[in-house]
């Protein structure tokens, strides 16, 4: 390893270390004014009363503050619950805004400095490590040592990375009050972009985008000489930075609804939720455009683009989840399970999620138009179940946290309802397929091993059969790693797409079908 790469790793580790330590800095002090400013009108009186014992106290850690908050808050709520006074129970969780407001820490005072020392150093370190990669080597497949690596083959480094990611997601989704320091740190960036202070989602979006960019650079190095890989990497980098990160924030700056123009229902599962629809309808022409745009993508964009290009147009060129999987997740693509059994589970699970998302959305829409007379608040409970189980636990914790254990496309393969929808179109009405080059396959297994979606590509290639599978995201890596030039991603006429070619061209003794 070159010196500059060693420095890169060191900076990266220092950055991650700082990032991890930051939540423990500073102290928390609550007063009545803060409580009044950060609670809803209807709760102001009660909350300021409930939290009174905390006023004036200085808490030296997030744990101390949050535990005191919980004690007071839960005392109040539990008392009401025991008496079944459900309408007086406060269901809102104020721990995050109050912790953020009560915080005073060096991070809050010097956000730019700490931002540089944590996320900044990690990103710079990542770049220093990635940029010189493969510099002295000719262009070609760069999979040397993948299965000898502690990071890429479920070794100790992979275990630590996975555990860290899982922990991060759990805190982010369910315990954000513990990381108000980190959120305060990115406040000034958020103010510049949207004019608003940051939420934990802004922090997440910033890290997510930087991760895609830094690891996208790694892809450029790794796939030097392979224009397909480079172009689609550039594409996901662009869509994440512009469409998923910057444009929604800037929309907010101009008092428009926060909207990601490339996110499509049912991946964007709350698109038809009542509060979303209300937002669109109350935002004038722009809101109406967003609503119509979103619907057009679902009913026209997905089928038409998928017909012409396969689902890859979205999954490995545009999608944010796909973008992370293809960049940050690329080192783990070989860990996906290729067994027939895994495929069986995959089909059941992913289509169940699709059905769940569709049913939930239909109920929501019907309920909305019936003025909530049909189901009342039942849809809300359905929403919170889906949000918890699918939106957070599956897509986030498992989807990304499990990269180092089960490969980089766990969510896309087993869970994403949009991938299921795209997949149905790809399987039954599309011009896309992966063709195999006559009889040139040597069954080596590189294609199957590096298929992130767990498709046993070799099964088809060795019998000269085109690969037409609903799950294929068209990343093109099977074609890149094939040592015999056997696989090619193609859009072509539907005729002969699902083929029954002779097993091998070149044997005139017999003609037989796969």
């Amino acid at each position: 390893m070159k010196l500059i790469q060693k420095i890169g790793i060191l900076l990266f580790l220092v950055g991650i270390g700082t990032f991890t330590l930051i939540p423990f800095l500073g102290s928390y002090q609550l007063d009545k004014k803060t409580v009044l400013e950060n609670t809803k009108d209807i709760h102001q009186e009660k909350m300021s009363e409930v939290l009174e014992p905390m006023y004036g106290e200085v808490y030296n850690s997030n744990f101390g503050f949050i535990s005191a908050f919980k004690t007071n808050f839960n005392n109040y709520n539990d008392g009401l619950k025991e008496q079944s006074l459900w309408d007086q129970v406060i269901w809102d969780d104020y721990s995050f805004p109050l912790a953020k407001a009560a915080l005073s820490s060096p991070v809050k005072e010097n956000p730019w400095l700490f931002l540089m020392l944590s996320i900044g150093l990690a990103a710079i370190g990542g770049l220093l490590y990635n940029l010189p990669k493969h510099r002295d080597e000719p262009a070609g497949v760069k999979n040397n040592g993948v299965f000898h690596s502690a990071m890429k083959n479920r070794g100790w480094m992979g275990m630590i990375t996975g555990a860290y990611l899982i922990l991060f997601y759990i805190i982010l989704y369910w315990f954000p009050a513990y990381i108000v320091n980190l959120v305060s740190m990115v406040d000034p960036v958020s103010m510049i972009l949207s004019g608003n202070p940051a939420s934990q989602w802004f922090l997440y979006g910033l890290i997510y985008t930087l991760a895609i960019l830094v690891m996208g650079i790694r892809m450029f190095r790794k796939y030097r000489g392979n224009r397909y890989q480079q172009l689609r990497t550039a594409s996901v980098m662009f869509f994440q930075t512009a469409f998923a990160f910057l444009i929604p924030e800037i929309l907010v700056l101009f008092n428009q609804p926060y909207f990601d123009f490339k996110n499509i229902w049912p991946l964007d599962y709350d698109f038809f939720y009542d509060y979303q629809i209300d937002t669109f309808l109350s935002a004038g022409g722009v809101g109406m455009f967003m609503l119509i745009w979103g619907i057009l993508l679902i009913i026209i964009g997905v089928p038409v683009f998928t017909y012409f290009f396969g689902k890859r147009w979205y999954c490995s060129w545009v999608c944010g989840c796909g973008g992370l999987a293809e960049t940050v997740g690329d080192p783990y693509r070989q860990l996906s399970d290729k067994s027939l059994k895994a495929w069986k589970y995959e089909r059941v699970i992913i289509h169940s999620v699709l059905v769940l998302a569709v049913v939930m959305t239909l109920l929501t829409i019907v309920n909305y138009f019936s003025g909530f007379s049909l189901l009342g608040n039942v849809t809300n409970q359905l929403h919170s179940f889906y949000g918890f189980a699918i939106g957070s636990a599956f897509a986030g914790v498992v989807g990304t946290g499990f990269y180092p254990f089960m490969g980089n496309r766990v969510w896309c393969r087993f869970g994403c309802p949009l991938a299921a929808y795209l997949g149905l179109v790809q399987r039954f009405k599309s011009r896309f397929r992966i063709t195999t080059n006559g009889g040139q396959c040597i069954s080596c297994g590189n294609c199957s091993t590096y298929c992130e979606m767990g498709i046993d590509v070799r099964w088809y290639a060795q019998r000269g059969q085109n690969i037409v599978r609903s799950s294929c995201v068209g990343c093109g890596v099977c074609s890149s790693v094939c040592p015999r030039g056997v696989l090619k991603l193609e859009n072509n006429s539907e005729e002969g797409r699902i083929n029954e070619l002779p097993i091998i061209i070149g044997n005139d003794s017999i003609k037989l079908n796969a």
Partner: protein, 451 residues
């Protein structure tokens, strides 16, 4: 033919496995047993190098999951065969067990050649063919190897060089000929690969032969003495001067063997109910003018197995190979060939068209008859479609037709450089033709793909 007869196949390489699978498709009743001492489950021999280099684990090289064999009722017997009693139709294993057969298929493959070099059996000296060879190589190169020497410039030699380079072991590559693999490749292609070998810092020494392998006090290789008098200190020696049929255990039996097991074009040996396919079979007469009596390629092995399965299923079928094809990968450069392109040809009967990209890593050769009909192509550094050339060569297209349709032959991924246009320009200028140059596709223009 009794329906519950027992077909025993010795060897679970590509030939034996294809034969077993195909036979099961054609005959639901027959009992099939696949024997191998090397590995219980079929794996891709050509992928051994990728295990060494950490691209894959051994299980990734197995094309079928374990349930596949049970589902298709192909019994797997993990054992080494010691002898065969052709009269009693019984196989004896080294373990002392026996197995009776009705039909026997010998598909035992090859073993690396050793030409009686002094020191060829020292510790640290080996070929690379089997799973056991791989394990041995992993053990021998795990530490203490300051330099390795590879003897013999073929496909396995360059694979071994690449493997050792992965471990950062400096490699000296002794090739007897004047160019790498130049008994197969024409000079330009051979030079192209030679340059690429050196680009990978492999010390390629042409026209250099092994004289002796020198031992240290523990019986391990210490150095290699070359014919030119050079003494190269090294701790590992790869012997890759070809392979020969692995039929030791069949010597001194009624079976007719020469270098391999002698078979006719239906893979029948001189004994009834005994067949041989793949690397270990030697044809009594060559199957086609451009073929050799022993075919040692993955693809031919597969065709042998496929064809014999028909005969075994009661549909006697003669082996008739079609248009030749092959492929390989030399470090980072892919190679494909379709039809006949020998290392040298008679200028009286053939015209050669050769184009090479200025990078020196991409090339295309087409050999034409004097009538201008395509005989074969070699392509390096880019991919061409098998189906296209199988048809073009079979139908004897003239070179102009082939070159003007090159876009259809392209098998490179999308957005790759449009080499076909450069090839068309070069063809026009060499033969004075006026082939209409293909246009770059919209996408290629959009993303600036150029050669």
């Amino acid at each position: 033919m009794k329906s519950n007869r027992h077909v025993v196949i010795i060897g679970n390489g590509i030939s034996g496995v294809t034969c077993a699978r195909q036979l099961r498709k054609l005959d639901d009743q027959v009992n099939i047993t696949l024997i191998s001492g090397e590995s219980k489950y079929f794996f891709s021999r050509t992928a051994l190098m990728y295990i060494f280099m950490g691209h894959m684990k051994f299980e990734h090289t197995q094309p079928y999951e374990p349930w596949f064999w049970e589902k298709n009722r192909i019994d797997l017997k993990e054992a080494w065969v010691s002898s065969v009693d052709f009269d009693l139709k019984v196989i004896s294993f080294q373990s002392g067990e026996n197995m009776a057969y009705d039909d026997l298929v010998i598909a035992t493959g090859s073993k690396p050649n050793k030409f009686g070099w002094p020191g060829q059996d020292l510790i640290g000296v080996q070929g690379l063919y089997s799973k056991q060879d791989l394990e041995s190589m992993e053990a021998l190169t795990s530490q203490g190897v300051g330099r390795a020497v590879i003897v013999g410039g073929g496909l396995i030699g360059i694979e071994m060089a690449e493997m050792l380079a992965y471990k950062k072991i400096p490699v000296t590559f002794l090739v007897r000929e004047t160019g790498f693999w130049n008994n197969i490749l024409p000079k330009e292609e051979s030079d192209l690969v030679g340059r690429h070998i050196r680009e990978h810092h492999i010390d390629l020494r042409l026209e250099e032969e092994l004289e002796e392998i020198i031992s240290d006090e523990n019986g391990r290789v210490r150095a290699v003495q070359t014919k030119s008098g050079d003494k190269i200190p090294c701790q590992f020696v790869g012997l890759t001067a070809g392979v020969s049929p692995n039929i030791e255990f069949l010597k001194n039996t009624p079976l007719n063997i020469n270098r391999g097991v002698k078979v006719d074009l239906q893979f029948k040996t001189n004994l009834p109910n005994v067949y041989a396919i793949g690397d270990c079979a030697e044809f009594l007469e060559i199957p086609a003018a451009d073929r050799k009596p022993i075919e040692q390629v993955w693809y031919t092995g597969r065709m042998h197995g496929e064809t014999l399965a028909y005969t075994l299923a009661g549909k006697p079928t003669t082996y008739r190979p079609g248009i030749w094809f092959n492929s390989a990968k030399f470090l980072d450069i892919e190679y494909q060939t379709y039809g006949t392109v020998p290392a040298t040809w008679d200028e009286e009967n053939c015209n050669s068209f050769y184009w090479e990209h200025e990078s020196g890593k991409v090339s295309f050769r087409m050999l034409l008859s004097k009538k201008g009909e395509i005989l074969g192509v070699n392509n390096f550094g880019f991919r061409l479609r098998h189906e296209f050339f199988d048809k073009a060569i079979k139908e004897k297209w003239n070179g102009e037709k082939v070159v003007s349709n090159l876009a259809k032959a392209n098998f490179d991924p999308e957005f790759f450089a449009p080499y076909n246009i450069e090839i068309q320009k070069a063809f026009n200028s060499q033969f004075g033709t006026s082939i209409q140059l293909e246009k770059r596709s919209f996408i290629q223009k959009l993303f600036g793909a150029s050669v």
